[in-house]
Structure formats: structure tokens, C-alpha cells
């Protein structure tokens, strides 16, 4: 053996020793990732091609039939349209208002601003059924502290207010109540990161607080806004609890039985026992989420992985 190959051998063995000790740290995490992060996705692909005619999956027997069943279902277009409408309302509005609040709070940092951030954060603990319960009360003019406002807008009863054409706005109002606080905290954190020299220079040049917010702070937190866009988008595509409890499980309000694609997938699985079509739908929505994740990583260079 030449001197060089021995050296190379030693380097390789040292690298493998280092690798081995690192793998001991990540192994449990890797197992959980395979089981609960990647596994379900891969298994869903398998299931989406399986036939469920006899209750047990017959793998690869269905071909593309499950996709055809799911995508040609009479509710498919309807639920997709609904979710698209909900996204068009909820995503831009949610982002604009959260950024506005963060900028307003950051004009005067201090005790009051921090108290308000806490106040806006606390509704984040009201989620799922509790959130919907509260929403039902808030949208009932007889009980709600917003009753006079609702009546002034012409809605005298819960049923007059909750109608299919208003659902995208209603779900937006409900979701923003619970979800805004965390994003306000994130954007506020980003604003805190802006260098004081920049802001001081702007002030000396005669920039008032509103101009600073608009022309300096806002452009500087843009990466966080993109991040929020992608996460809110991927999350809102999955809307389930609100229409499900409102429409079927709880009160049979004036809400169609399957309003969102996620409800349709749920219905395929648990009402019809067609897990193949449910998997096909889940995969479609997973793809939307993955596409969004890919976009955030690629376009923004946000998660700079240090080599």
C-alpha cells in the first residue's frame, strides 16, 4: 500500500467514525420521521391505487380508478370552488391585517404595546370546538356583544347570518380571531430586528412614524410575510373543523354537508368506506401543501441551510 492510500483510508475511517457518532443522535428522530412524517405519505400513495371493494385493500388493483372517482365526484368542483374562494378572502386579508397591527404596535414600543400583543395572543388558546362554540355565540345577535352591530348590518338571527355565500368571510373572521396573535408576535419580532441606525437616519431625514412603517419597516419584513403567506395558505387549504361542526355534527346550520375538500375526503373514508378515493384527495391536498413548502424554501432562500 502506498502512503497515499493509507492516508485516504484513515480519512475515510475517521469520517465514518464521526458519521457513526452523529447517527446515534439522529436515529430516534429518523425513525419517527419515517414512521409519522414520510411513512403516511408513502402509504397513502399505495392506498390510492388500491381497491377497497371487499373492505380490505387489494393493492394496485384499482389503477387510476380512485383518482377518477374522487376527481369526478359531483362535490369535487363545488368543494374546490369553496376552498378557493375561502383562500382568496382569508389569505390576503389575514396577512394585511396582521402586518398592519404589528406595524401600528411597533410605532410605540413599550408596556402598552406589549400588553396588547398579549391580549391579541390569548385567543390563540381558543381553537377547534371551543373556537366554534364561541363563534356560534358571537354570531347569535341575541347573545353576542356584537349583537347591535349584527342587527345594524341587517342580520337579526344566526340563521339569517350563516348562509353559504357568506361562509368564506365568516370562516375568515373565525380563523383570524384565533390565529392572528401568533403572527403578530412573529412580525413584531421581525420588526425588532431592524437596525436602529436605519430608523434613526430616516427620522433625521424627516420621515414620520407612518412613513417609516410604510417605506422602511414594511419592505424589511417582507420575507416573513412570504413565510406567513405560504404557511397560512397550506393550513387554510385543509379547512375541516369549522364547516364540519357547523354543517353536520352540531347544529345543521345553513351550511352544505361537504363544504371543503378535506370534508369530502373524510366523507369518502368514513361514510363510504372508499379509502382509496380519500387517499387520492388527501394526496392532492398534500401536494398543494408540499408545493407551497417548496416555494417558500426556493423563492425566499429563507431557510438557509448552513453547509
Amino acid at each position: 500500500m502506498t502512503n497515499q492510500t493509507i492516508k485516504a483510508d484513515m480519512r475515510t475511517s475517521r469520517r465514518w467514525r464521526r458519521n457513526l457518532s452523529a447517527y446515534r443522535f439522529v436515529l430516534p428522530y429518523l425513525i419517527f420521521m419515517l414512521a409519522f412524517g414520510l411513512g403516511p405519505g408513502i402509504y397513502a400513495i399505495l392506498i390510492s391505487f388500491a381497491d377497497f371493494e371487499f373492505g380490505v385493500p387489494d393493492y394496485f388493483a384499482a389503477g387510476l380508478q380512485n383518482y377518477v372517482t374522487a376527481f369526478t365526484d359531483y362535490r369535487f368542483g363545488f368543494t374546490m370552488g369553496n376552498i378557493a374562494e375561502f383562500l382568496v378572502v382569508s389569505v390576503p386579508l389575514g396577512i394585511a391585517l396582521v402586518v398592519l397591527i404589528a406595524l401600528l404596535l411597533h410605532m410605540r414600543p413599550g408596556r402598552l404595546s406589549s400588553t396588547l400583543r398579549t391580549l391579541f395572543f390569548i385567543p390563540g388558546s381558543v381553537t377547534g370546538p371551543a373556537l366554534l362554540l364561541l363563534a356560534i355565540f358571537m354570531f347569535s345577535p341575541l347573545m353576542s356583544p356584537f349583537g347591535s352591530l349584527l342587527r345594524a348590518l341587517g342580520y337579526d338571527s344566526f340563521d339569517a347570518l350563516i348562509a353559504p355565500q357568506r361562509l368564506p368571510v365568516i370562516f375568515t373572521i373565525i380563523g383570524f380571531f384565533s390565529g392572528a396573535g401568533m403572527w403578530i408576535a412573529i412580525h413584531y419580532g421581525a420588526l425588532e430586528g431592524i437596525s436602529h441606525e436605519v430608523l434613526e437616519a430616516a427620522r433625521i431625514d424627516g420621515c414620520n412614524a407612518w412613513q417609516q412603517a410604510m417605506y422602511i419597516k414594511f419592505p424589511l419584513i417582507r420575507p416573513y410575510i412570504i413565510y406567513q403567506f405560504i404557511l397560512i395558505f397550506a393550513g387554510n387549504v385543509q379547512l375541516f373543523v369549522e364547516p364540519q361542526l357547523l354543517g353536520t355534527t352540531w347544529i345543521m346550520a345553513n351550511v352544505p354537508q361537504q363544504w371543503s375538500p378535506n370534508q369530502l375526503a373524510y366523507s369518502f373514508a368514513f361514510d363510504l368506506g372508499n379509502f382509496g378515493a380519500a387517499a387520492a384527495l388527501s394526496l392532492l391536498m398534500l401536494l398543494v401543501g408540499l408545493g407551497a413548502a417548496y416555494l417558500v424554501v426556493r423563492l425566499t432562500g429563507f431557510f438557509d441551510i448552513k453547509a
Binding site: 452523529a22 446515534r24 409519522f36 390569548i122 388558546s125 355565540f137 408576535a185 425588532e192 398534500l286 413548502a293
Partner: protein, 319 residues
């Protein structure tokens, strides 16, 4: 008792001057119009976020009539509060506390496991360069950005294959995979660990595990506060997962239990299920049950708040 101070009849010029300075300071760099506009907008949001919370706190004190006839933000009486409390407790012989206990068990065990497996992983991703590190980071990012509800049906199918549906494991195990925690740990150690110190210790013959145990772990306290809060929040509020995975009431967590309780009573459907022997359940009782679910999160939040609000998220997304 306090002594009364006499108010001077004339305002001395120095006070006027002071008032001017104060007003200049208040309106500085935005002018009175901007000042009031800012407050008007913030006030709208204070009402939007605050009134529902206040209403929810007051609702258990008002019976079915009072909740409609009284002003929405008034307090009823303590007797009704007690009655709501006992109505909620009587629901299927105090089942809400079974759900409460389940919630605690689910949340605590997945929190513990996710930290035990996640912190070493995030640490080693930050400090060591090993084969496969980059792909692991990418997978962490991708799974972290996927909303958990997107995985529920695929997870159901998978767990069904191994016969874990309707067991506690169907709730606990998936929650132990917490890529967001791994990512935060990675970011935290990437920016907060003195590499010179690690190298010096390595030269002295410290093993990677000793480095982690004696140098990295003691530095992790603020990280644990943030991770603990986020994980608690996510898992305490986990509804869709357990809703799909569990079907026996005794295994439910609070959100699924609350859902069942509302669905099975007349709390928000006056006239529903009024058969004799059926529990009389009103809005006040539903509000009380909602409060039982919400209060623990608020308490945990108030404790963890300095880690959460102080801009701790800044590091989490900057990378």
C-alpha cells in the same frame, strides 16, 4: 387618612410648558391625526379580540333567560356559575375530567418524547458535518411546513394497518414527531454555541455525547421554554387527529370530548334531545366546558410568555 391637597387656582407657566412638552412627545413623529388614527384602528382590534374572551368569562354566570335578556357583558350571579359547574361535572358522571386527564397524559408524554428525541437531533445537525445531514434538514423543513391536518387521513390508514386505531398510541406516537422542534433546536445551537469551546473539549478527549450532556444541554433553558409552549399548545388543541383516530369516549382528549358533549346536548340547540332523564344543558354550561379547555393553555402561555412574545420567534424563522 389621606390629606387633601389644595389645587392652585392658576396654572403656573411651568406647568403649561410641561404640558406642551408632553403633547409634543406624545404626538412626536406622527402628528395628532396619525396618533388618533393609530389608536382608532388598535381599539377596533382590542374589541374584536377582547370582547369574545370577556363574554366567555361572563357567560357561565347567566341562565338561559339572563343570557338573552341581560346585557351581553354583564355578570349574572354566582349561583348560576355553581350550577353550570355542577352541570358540566354531571355530564356522564364527570366524564370531562376523564378527558382532562387524557389530555394531560397525551400532551405530557408526547412533549417528553419529542424533546428527548428532538433536541439531540437538532443539536447534532447544528454542530456536526455528517453524510446525509443536508437531506435530513430538508426533510425536516418539508415535514415542518406541512400542516398536520394534511397527514391525518394518511396516518389513519397507516395506523389502521398496524391495528393501533382507537388506542392511546394513535394520538401519542404521531405527536412525538415534532420537526418544528428539531428545526428550532438546530437554529438555536447554530447561533448560540461557542464552537471554540466545543473544539477545545474535543481535543481534551470529550466524546460527542459528553459535549452534548455537559455543554449544550445546560444552555438549552430558553429553548425548552419556547418548545414546551409550542408543543403544549399544538397537542392540547389537537382535534382533527384524535377525532379521526379514536372512537371510544373514554379515550377522548378534551377537544374531542367537548365536541361530543356539545353534539349530544341541547347546549346550543334549544329543544334538542329534551327527553326525560336527559341532562339539562344550557349555553352557560357549554361556555363553562369551553373555559375548562381554554384556561390551561392561557396559564401555560402566561408562564412561557417571556420566551414566546419577546421575539423568540425571530430566530426561529431567520435561519
Amino acid at each position: 387618612m389621606s390629606t387633601l391637597k389644595t389645587v392652585p387656582s392658576e396654572i403656573p407657566p411651568s406647568t403649561l410648558q410641561q404640558a406642551k412638552t408632553i403633547s409634543r412627545r406624545i404626538f412626536a413623529d406622527m402628528g395628532p391625526l396619525g396618533y388618533f388614527l393609530r389608536w382608532a384602528i388598535l381599539l377596533i382590534f382590542v374589541l374584536y379580540f377582547g370582547l369574545p374572551l370577556l363574554w366567555l368569562l361572563l357567560a357561565p354566570s347567566k341562565d338561559q333567560t339572563a343570557i338573552i335578556t341581560q346585557s351581553p357583558l354583564s355578570f349574572g350571579n354566582w349561583a348560576t356559575v355553581l350550577e353550570s359547574w355542577s352541570n358540566v361535572n354531571q355530564y356522564v358522571h364527570g366524564e370531562i375530567w376523564v378527558w382532562f386527564k387524557n389530555s394531560i397524559i397525551y400532551v405530557m408524554s408526547s412533549l417528553a418524547v419529542s424533546l428527548v428525541i428532538g433536541i439531540p437531533a437538532g443539536y447534532i445537525l447544528a454542530v456536526a458535518r455528517f453524510t446525509g445531514r443536508k437531506i435530513l434538514l430538508w426533510l425536516t423543513l418539508i415535514t415542518m411546513l406541512l400542516p398536520s391536518s394534511a397527514m391525518v387521513l394518511p396516518l389513519f390508514l397507516e395506523l389502521n394497518l398496524v391495528h393501533l386505531i382507537n388506542t392511546v398510541w394513535a394520538v401519542i406516537l404521531p405527536a412525538c414527531f415534532f420537526p418544528f422542534g428539531v428545526y428550532l433546536t438546530y437554529v438555536y445551537y447554530s447561533s448560540n454555541l461557542p464552537t471554540d469551546l466545543l473544539d477545545a473539549a474535543r481535543v481534551d478527549g470529550c466524546s460527542e455525547w459528553q459535549l452534548f450532556r455537559h455543554i449544550a444541554l445546560p444552555l438549552a433553558k430558553p429553548l425548552l421554554g419556547l418548545l414546551g409552549f409550542i408543543s403544549f399548545n399544538i397537542n392540547w388543541n389537537n382535534f382533527f387527529g384524535p377525532y379521526v383516530m379514536l372512537n371510544s369516549n373514554k379515550l377522548f382528549n378534551l377537544p374531542v370530548g367537548l365536541q361530543t358533549m356539545i353534539a349530544g346536548t341541547s347546549a346550543i340547540r334549544p329543544g334538542f334531545n329534551t327527553s326525560p332523564g336527559m341532562l339539562k344543558f344550557q349555553q352557560a354550561d357549554a361556555a363553562m366546558a369551553g373555559l375548562i379547555m381554554i384556561v390551561p393553555v392561557v396559564i401555560v402561555f402566561l408562564f412561557a410568555q417571556r420566551y414566546v412574545i419577546a421575539g423568540a420567534f425571530t430566530g426561529s424563522v431567520k435561519g
